[in-house]
Symmetry: C2
Subunit: 545 residues, 2 copies
């Protein structure tokens, strides 16, 4: 992973922006773009480590000398995640905050010892899987502590157990998706979890952040896949999940899922796996507009069985993606569906989609809407999405290099609120970005949907301007306020971290915040775990709601 | 509802046991049975109410005079749930513990006021929906308080909102299933949640106990259906669920679900609803034995789409049900499937089942198992289950009247552990019940299954013997210990209440118990809510796990 960008260093993003694309960008964004060269690594120095000799010695006793590293490069590689703000800081040579050391426990038991020592020594502990957080989740914030260490899970990479009768796999938290798929694939299984970050993101990170993959229609959200978890805390082990389903009180798995390292560090996750699919096929349609597409997605989300992938781009994203792929952009909104499974499962998925789209045609005709079919096949777009679907973060680096700021944000709500929310967030972004420094392109797609609602995933591209960090902070605040005011969740699958924390009190209310704070006080009495993330401040100020 | 038995008083259970059935029971159970007439209601007196005049006056100010009742009959009707132990006590004329008064709030706001008063006056509060708990969940235990009131939700019965775009309905907690289905059915929708208790059980109770209905294959568990909830606590309102899915931290809906009135009282639940099905059809098969049936259920649980209903009876239950229905019992295990939806959805469900059963045949043949088809249609059994599926609780009253003790218990685990768990629990029940007082019939079915595991639902019939309550307590303890020792959950859908509480520390561990206790201290600082239920004692004793 690049220290100041995304992904494989061999993959040169500069080639992704042609001269003609750059000219088109200048025209569209209404600004002349200038190169923004990053500060080279050899000119960057992290602050001195504050880890005491006492703590270092105690930790080395548990971890060995290879298990505690505080060289500059290791610390820089763990100085945060991959939000655009993170990259802007690093490109400017700023690698603060930086962990005072990086720890590499090789087992759950070693991690329990590490947490015991850090608890005694009052050292803040930040878990780190693939380091792909885009919300500040892995930023090494010391909070009220004098020292902060990052715990890198990369030495915990085993497939611990595969139960072929139950179709479950127990996986170490440090496994990355390609490693999981290789281990499972050799036995004839797949996890089927493919978020855009899949090359680097880890099993523990997926659980800690409630990740959602691009094939969520068929494989479910990551939290849907989890049968049980094991989490190390300063008080010992919490390992909820005694059976696939239970009525034995509140589901404590759901407290561990989404806890973002604030309650403990997840070391093992037992997940449902599936046999490798026999068949895989894609299809694409064009609908006249986003609004029609939303209704199509709604019907498809209620299909049984559902397609494995269902994704709708709004008119702007449809136009931009066709342009980037060198195709003639057709008017309308692009709907991409993917089908996976046995041959007959694929047949049934397609039949269910056909039925859903027939319902859409019937309701469109009944409401005096479009005449003729609401959807038309667009075979030329079928391959574009599958070829380019993991390119986003690489493209962001290329755009930053030519002075274009890009970032994404996402939310979810019920179907009835989805279009008002979409317009409110778009309007907020345009209002905060369009001006003397240029304008913004705001694209949106729906890639995760449910019988009762769906997510919105927005991508923004705008000139960097004089102060790109301040420019984006304003836009993000405006978009987040619009989400909160229009009934959306502050995050559907990026998690909370530092960036969404100011909106958590609105999201879960004062008693919800107090409940999380009470959990944290129980599992992490000294407050060493991932300080200032997720859980809003002020549990002492709770008043009756 | 009968005060000392199940259901509609017009439904006379005595007619359910013919002379020939009784003779067969005596022969099978190895004991001569004798009539056990219950103490009539007019000979039963509850203890005097301990509610102070101060508290009564304060509560009447909020609720009006109709909203607080402490007449004998109302108190007796709320003196507990419907476990066999509950019925045995009431048939013996014992109606303790009895609530000191029964409160009937008409709104969330009234309930908040009630909780404020009870918090000030240190009055224990037990929520009551349909009163169908079989685990002591609604037993009016005062715990450390001097007084206990039951809060009956039966004045909260509105369909508050139906969102037809999102297919969600916001329902008052006090609505019973037939009322819900009537309200939704008039608008073209169904909830599709039909546990055996459906005639009386309420929406709030389903949420508080993580109920599972007989059509869980198609409609999901109740907790799957929930989009948001509103819960009144002594500290105010907790209302989690801002969108169908979210990554904004731990899912607080899952803390409210299954909380059994210990953290607050649920007043409103927004659930996913479905259009009324166009088509409904059943099918039944016989498999050679339970073990083959388990493999069939496993394949069916992974079908896409799944059938709406899938239920497998073991050899004993298959034999007994055929006998009760007056059919010739065929050897083997009965598999009943139900299909619901549009015509084409039903077609796809059937196709998916056919594919699953073909996989079973292939794997059976490959492992040198049964030759010929592993499953054969049994059309004669198709209707039996649908006709009799809600009769169990009525039949229990009839059996108690002739001196036969019947009770049910349930658990769940992964597919790989299911048969070992089945044998362990059956063996424990037989070991504790078979002896000089007769023997036990132990029947089992699987009615809720998942890709990674399934539930086991056991029904026991045995002579009452000299002390039926002690006899069942021994058997229940032995079965629960066997469940805990063999990796099962202590309850898959009956909840915890008082009866499963001794096994909760094994179920969730010391840190899990401490986490629930911390949540309770936050939401219910005085500990007035449903004392001595669900949450195990001793959070002060937590040691590192």
């Amino acid at each position: 992973m690049q220290w100041n960008g995304w992904g494989d260093p061999e993959h040169d993003p500069a080639q992704m922006i042609s001269e003609s694309t750059r000219a088109l960008l200048e025209q569209t964004l209404g600004a002349s773009l200038s190169e923004q060269p990053p500060v080279p690594l050899d000119q960057v120095r992290p602050p001195a480590s504050r880890l005491t000799q006492t703590a270092r010695a105690a930790l080395r006793t548990v971890l060995g000398s290879a298990g505690l590293r505080d060289d500059d490069r290791t610390r820089i590689d763990h100085c945060g995640g991959k939000s655009t703000d993170d990259l802007l800081r690093r490109r400017a040579g700023d690698v603060t905050p930086c962990p005072d050391a990086v720890l590499f426990p090789a087992s759950h038991e070693e991690l329990l010892d590490v947490l015991r020592i850090c608890n005694e020594q009052r050292i803040a502990v930040v878990p780190f899987g693939g380091g792909t957080s885009v919300v500040g989740g892995v930023e090494p914030v010391a909070g009220p502590m004098a020292t902060v260490v990052t715990v890198d899970l990369s030495r915990m990479k085993q497939l611990l157990h595969l139960d072929e009768d139950s179709h479950t796999a127990t996986l170490h938290a440090g496994l990355r998706t390609p490693e999981v798929e290789e281990l499972l694939g050799a036995r004839g299984y797949t996890l089927g979890h493919l978020p855009q970050s899949y090359e680097y993101a880890t099993i523990g990170g997926y659980a800690a952040t409630r990740s959602t993959g691009q094939a969520s229609g068929g494989y479910g959200r990551f939290d849907d896949m989890v049968v049980s978890l094991r989490m190390a805390t300063p008080r010992g082990t919490l390992a909820p999940g005694r059976s696939p389903a239970s009525a034995a009180g509140p589901d404590l798995r759901q407290l561990v899922l989404g806890s973002e390292g604030t309650l403990g560090i997840i070391t093992e996750v037992t997940v449902r796996v599936r046999p490798l699919p026999h068949a895989r096929t894609d299809a694409a349609w064009v609908v006249p507009d986003f609004s029609t597409g939303v209704r199509a997605m709604r019907e498809i989300a209620r299909a049984a069985p559902r397609p494995t992938v269902a994704r709708l781009s709004d008119e702007t994203e449809t136009f931009v993606q066709a342009t980037l792929a060198g195709r003639d952009p057709a008017p309308g909104s692009l709907l991409v569906l993917g089908f996976e499974g046995t041959d007959s499962e694929v047949t049934r998925q397609r039949a269910a989609v056909d039925e859903a789209l027939r319902r859409l045609d019937t309701s469109s005709a009944a409401s005096g809407g479009t005449h003729g079919p609401a959807v038309a096949a667009d075979s030329s777009a079928v391959g574009d999405w599958r070829r380019s679907r993991f390119d986003g973060p690489y493209l962001r680096d290329a755009l930053l290099s030519v002075g274009v700021l890009t970032e994404t944000l996402e939310t979810a709500t019920t179907w009835s609120q989805l279009e008002p929310l979409y317009h409110a967030v778009r309007d907020a972004l345009h209002a905060s970005l369009d001006g003397p420094e240029g304008t913004a392109i705001v694209m949106c797609h729906i890639s995760h949907s449910y019988p009762s609602g769906a997510s919105l995933y927005l991508t923004v591209a705008t000139p960097c301007g004089r102060d790109p960090r301040a420019r984006w902070a304003r836009a993000k605040r405006a978009a987040s306020d619009a989400i909160a005011a229009n009934g959306g969740t502050i995050t559907h699958h990026h998690a909370v971290g530092t960036d969404h924390r100011p909106w958590m009190s609105t999201e879960i209310g004062a008693l919800g915040a107090a409940s999380l704070a009470a959990m944290k006080s129980t599992l992490d009495p000294a407050g060493i775990l991932n300080p200032h993330k997720l859980i809003p401040d002020g549990p002492a100020n709770v008043t009756d709601a």
